[in-house]
């Protein structure tokens, strides 16, 4: 293993993390809810009446974030190497997996670990492990 010092951004990543933490803090204290993105999105599909507005509002806030950043610092940089086939398979896996496992990086990884939930710790270790394993296979065995 070598450290990729050229791409290492501890300061910005810590700042971003603190903002994510502040958002999660506000959401549990003000709205009384867990800021788990897969749950917020997935809950829209079960179409419970009276439960749609806050979900839509939260997702709209996420989608508006790049515009806010654009106004402050300019366009975002993102490199997406995956082709269409890989994106579709990956998207399906993320959709099914996060609903079946009841959470993703935000719900289990941030909120769950902040609550010291053993259940979320197991989920986080499982998805991080699987992610590292797939990247190893795709980058070092297949490539």
């Amino acid at each position: 293993m070598t450290i990729d010092w050229n791409h290492f951004t501890p300061g910005m990543s810590l700042l971003g993390g603190v903002l994510i933490g502040i958002a999660s803090a506000l959401f549990i204290l003000a709205n009384g809810r867990i800021a788990g993105i897969s749950g917020i999105l997935g809950g829209l599909l079960s179409r419970r009446p009276g439960d749609m507005a806050w979900r839509m509002a939260f997702l709209l806030g996420l989608v508006a974030a790049p515009a806010a950043i654009f106004a402050l610092t300019g366009p975002l940089t993102a490199t997406i190497e995956a082709n269409t086939e890989v994106l579709v398979i990956a998207g399906l896996l993320v959709g099914i997996g996060t609903r079946y496992g009841a959470g993703c990086t935000s719900g289990h990884g941030v909120c769950g670990l902040s609550r010291l939930s053993p259940r979320s710790l197991v989920a986080t270790l499982a998805f991080m492990g699987a992610g590292m394993a797939i990247v190893f296979v795709m980058r070092h065995l297949l490539a």
């Binding site: 450290i3 990729d4 791409h7 910005m12 810590l14 700042l15 971003g16 993390g17 603190v18 994510i20 933490g21 958002a23 999660s24 549990i28 204290l29 003000a30 709205n31 800021a35 993105i37 897969s38 999105l41 997935g42 599909l45 507005a53 996420l62 989608v63 508006a64 790049p66 975002l76 993102a78 490199t79 997406i80 190497e81 995956a82 269409t84 994106l87 398979i89 998207g91 399906l92 896996l93 993320v94 959709g95 099914i96 997996g97 996060t98 496992g101 009841a102 990086t105 935000s106 941030v110 670990l113 197991v122 499982a126 998805f127 492990g129 699987a130 797939i134 990247v135 190893f136 070092h140």
Partner: protein, 150 residues
């Protein structure tokens, strides 16, 4: 009125969350994959994202656990489940596999819709389709069966 404040608060929280994801580097799939690639040229940045978020979250959830109502006056919806079962582990493994393949998890993928990147759009459509498939399967499996399989 309470409902409108609840909705407005969710919008603001979503915006802060999205800005956090962008600053953190989570909306750049190559950076996420750089973190997951521990055998290659490893970029440990995302550990700092988790660290920063959990630092603030830990304090907030300690405060939240003592409250019976939220600031707006509604109910606290804290998770009650604590079983570590097959669903949790298999679901999380499937999620992790998809995360590693594309470098997108749900929050950053939805945030990236706002950049208009067609690849993010394809990923989100597939992700919502996956969630809908889960929803359908769940409804089907939880319906009482009147006819048993042959």
């Amino acid at each position: 009125m309470k409902k409108h404040i609840d909705t407005l608060s969710a919008l603001i929280v979503g915006l802060i969350f999205g800005i956090g994801l962008i600053f953190a580097g989570m909306t750049d799939p190559s950076k996420v994959i750089g973190f997951l690639d521990i055998a290659g040229n490893w970029d440990p940045s995302l550990a700092f994202v988790m660290g920063g978020a959990i630092l603030v979250g830990f304090i907030a959830f300690r405060l939240a656990s003592k409250r019976t109502t939220n600031f707006i006056g509604g109910a606290m919806h804290l998770p009650t489940k604590n079983d570590i079962d097959r669903r949790l582990i298999i679901g999380s493994l499937l999620f992790g596999a998809g995360w590693g393949m594309a470098g997108f998890c749900p929050g950053p993928a939805i945030t990236s819709l706002g950049t208009g990147n067609p690849k993010a759009v394809i990923f989100v459509i597939a992700m919502v389709a996956g969630m809908a498939l889960y929803e359908l399967a769940d409804r089907f499996l939880h319906q009482p069966r009147s006819v048993s399989a042959p």
